[in-house]
């Protein structure tokens, strides 16, 4: 990066779209003309010889709700790490839409293209209030100096209020997020994702630690989001997967073992052997 780029970024004026280290203020254009939002092609990731992902191929349609299941160590979290830029694949390609090469972008850049991620363990800002958690996640110009001068407009407040209602935390807006119950923290993190207005949501075990009632409400929420957003849900809870009703992909030892409707997958002999039978 040239000195000019550095200065530009610090001053906070326009940013080069192709800059390697910066990220554009406006979202990179997502091209879903072939109705596919995510392509993972022949992805391999190995850690000290252990292949966490082994020639993984996966395609997610625009607006689809896809569940990923698989035993521990099947590569589910590593797959999410590759998609969000945390881990670089040793080989293979990852494209978001037709044009955006995810293996070339940093985590914040990928977030700006429209991919939101929920972690397995709820990761929220415990010292901040519920309201502030949503405020920080909200789509905005997220460069340092523009953030310094940022302030909340009325329609921003309305958006946050809407999301608070959607995740049923409107009574908790001013409480520190660290004081929420485990299930509420999961919901808050989902709410933060929604504030980002992502095109693709990656949700790693979103209902872990939730009551049955909360789990079913989460399923309702996700089903209502599908269509407008694309969702990839990693989950062990079969009742939840069934309630979501989408296509299911089974991962095993870093590659796809089976794919299809839940009933078909559950009756697949290989799947029963490696996963469901145990």
């Amino acid at each position: 990066m040239s000195a000019r780029d550095v200065m530009r970024k610090i001053i906070g004026i326009e940013i080069d779209e192709t800059s390697q280290f910066g990220y554009p203020a406006r979202q990179r254009m997502l091209d879903v003309s072939h109705n596919v939002i995510l392509y993972l092609d022949d992805i391999t990731v190995s850690f000290d010889g252990f292949k966490a992902l082994n020639k993984l191929n996966l395609m997610i349609d625009a607006g689809e709700l896809r569940c990923i299941i698989g035993p521990n160590g099947a590569g589910k979290t590593t797959m999410m790490d590759v998609i969000t830029g945390k881990t670089r694949p040793d080989s293979g390609t990852a494209f978001f839409g037709q044009t955006i090469d995810l293996t070339k972008l940093s985590e914040p850049q990928i977030a700006h293209t429209g991919i939101g991620r929920k972690f397995q363990k709820p990761t929220i800002f415990e010292q901040h209030s519920v309201f502030e958690n949503l405020e920080l996640a909200m789509t905005a110009d997220k460069r340092a100096l523009t953030t310094l001068a940022a302030w909340l407009r009325d329609d921003d407040r309305d958006r946050i209020a809407d999301t608070l209602r959607q995740i049923r935390l409107d009574g908790e807006a001013d409480r520190p997020a660290g004081l929420l119950s485990h299930g509420q923290k999961q919901w808050l993190e989902i709410g933060m994702l929604l504030m980002q207005e992502p095109k693709l949501l990656l949700l790693d075990e979103p209902v872990a630690g939730m009551t049955d009632d909360e789990t079913m409400r989460t399923a309702e929420l996700f089903v209502s989001l599908a269509g407008k957003h694309s969702l990839v849900v990693v989950e062990h809870d079969m009742a939840f997967v069934k309630a979501l009703g989408g296509k299911v992909t089974v991962l095993h030892e870093g590659s796809v073992l089976a794919e299809g409707e839940l009933d078909a997958v559950q009756n697949d002999q290989r799947v029963i052997e490696v996963y469901l039978g145990r």
Binding site: V6, K9, I10, F21, G22, Y23, T84, K86, S106, E107, P108, A111, H112, G116, R117, F119, T123, I124, F125, E126, Q127, H128, E132, E135, L136, A137, K142, R143, A144, L145, T147, L148, A150, W151, M192, Q196
Partner: protein, 374 residues
């Protein structure tokens, strides 16, 4: 258009803090000068030159403590090498003070004495313009900023964190100290700069000059505090504490922590540089020992003792520790380091929130007891 920054800074303060800042400025800018100049030296209320120099020095340290709290308390970045930025600001302004000596030095030369001693015939290129107050004032800000920016850019881009970052900052200040110890570096070697005569043409030891420097330091401290208060209450401040608590979440919602850390890191260095520039004319000397590792660790101790993440705590800590130090080093010089070590252990183990936390707990308990009675 929104209100100017100064008004937004003021409106970010609650009424009690505003009153506190106003009271502090009234004492420093009015009461102290009156007590110093108008009262005879034997009066019980006379403020001595010694007291003014000591308090002025401690206020410089308090600015550094606030700067440290911004990166450590709010950004979660512990620097154990902040002395380098303080010293760089001090050296930059010291160059100007050396040039102000003119031909009144021991060798009656245009060159500073130490250069004559080294048999140098002309000023090194980096002393160019050091006789201009404005240029030097610019250097006081730019040199620490540049060093901090370059160092911070590579450290934060490589995602160096926690204790590793702290160790590298120590190495940085230690390397700088060794560099400044060398006579060939052109900053007076291990003696540094001293024997200042004038600043802006005014005699540096006169009461009036001292009072102006004292008042200026108090004003800078008050503004640093108000600016820091405003900064941590802004959205930027919330992102900063979010990075401290859950950096990966911050990245995945689209903020690049590099630029957030780099901004606060550079700002903190600049504040230290300004504090250093105010320190040198009041104390009358700057030498490489300001860059020693122990000095930088002491900065962290002031913040920890006062209470980090509170902004007022570090100011309290800087005053308490340094007043204790100036009393100890006179009365029991050999025990000071033991006391400092003990203080750090006690605070770390028993007062994680520092003196401010202790005060808050005591206040709550007192109020609780009163409430129970009523």
């Amino acid at each position: 258009m929104r209100e100017p920054l100064i008004l937004r800074m003021l409106s970010a303060l609650d009424a009690r803090t505003r009153l506190g800042v106003a009271g502090f400025l009234a004492v420093a800018l009015l009461l102290v000068p009156v007590l110093h100049l108008a009262l005879p030296a034997d009066s019980a209320f006379h403020v001595s030159t010694y007291a003014i120099t000591l308090l002025g020095k401690i206020m410089c340290y308090a600015i550094v403590a606030v700067a440290m709290d911004l990166i450590w308390g709010y950004g979660g970045i512990l620097s154990l090498g902040h002395g380098i930025f303080f010293a760089l600001g001090g050296y930059a302004f010291g160059m100007y003070l050396m040039r102000q000596i003119g031909r009144d030095g021991s060798y009656q030369s245009d060159l500073p004495d130490f250069m004559v001693f080294l048999d140098w015939k002309e000023l090194p290129w980096y002393w160019t313009g050091s006789d201009s107050f404005l240029w030097v004032a610019l250097l006081v800000v730019l040199v620490p900023a540049l060093v901090a920016f370059v160092f911070g850019y590579f450290a934060f881009r490589s995602r160096i964190k926690g204790v590793y970052f702290s160790i590298i900052t120590q190495a940085l200040t230690y390397a700088a100290m060794l560099l400044f110890f060398r006579n060939e570096t052109g900053f007076g070697g291990n003696n540094g700069f001293t024997d200042f005569k004038r600043v802006l043409g005014y005699t540096i030891t006169s009461s009036e000059t001292r009072l102006v420097l004292f008042g200026l330091t108090a004003t800078v401290l008050a503004f640093t505090f108000m600016f820091a208060r405003w900064l941590v209450a802004s959205k930027y401040g919330r992102v900063l504490t979010a990075i401290r608590d859950a950096e990966s979440r911050v990245m995945f919602i689209g903020y690049d922590p590099l630029w957030f850390k780099l901004f606060i890191w550079t700002l903190s260095a600049v504040l230290c540089g300004i504090a250093g520039a105010l320190y040198v004319p009041q104390v009358g000397i700057i030498n490489p020992s300001e860059m020693s590792v122990a000095n930088s660790i002491e900065i962290a101790i002031w913040v920890a003792v006062g209470g980090r993440g509170t902004l007022i705590g570090p100011i309290v800590g800087a005053f308490v520790v340094n007043l204790a130090k100036s009393w100890f080093t006179v009365s029991f010089p050999e025990y000071w380091l033991f006391f400092l070590g003990l203080l750090f252990i006690v605070v770390t183990l028993m007062l994680p929130q520092g003196l401010v936390g202790l005060w808050k707990t005591a206040w709550k308990t007192l109020r609780g007891a009163q409430g129970a009675k009523a």
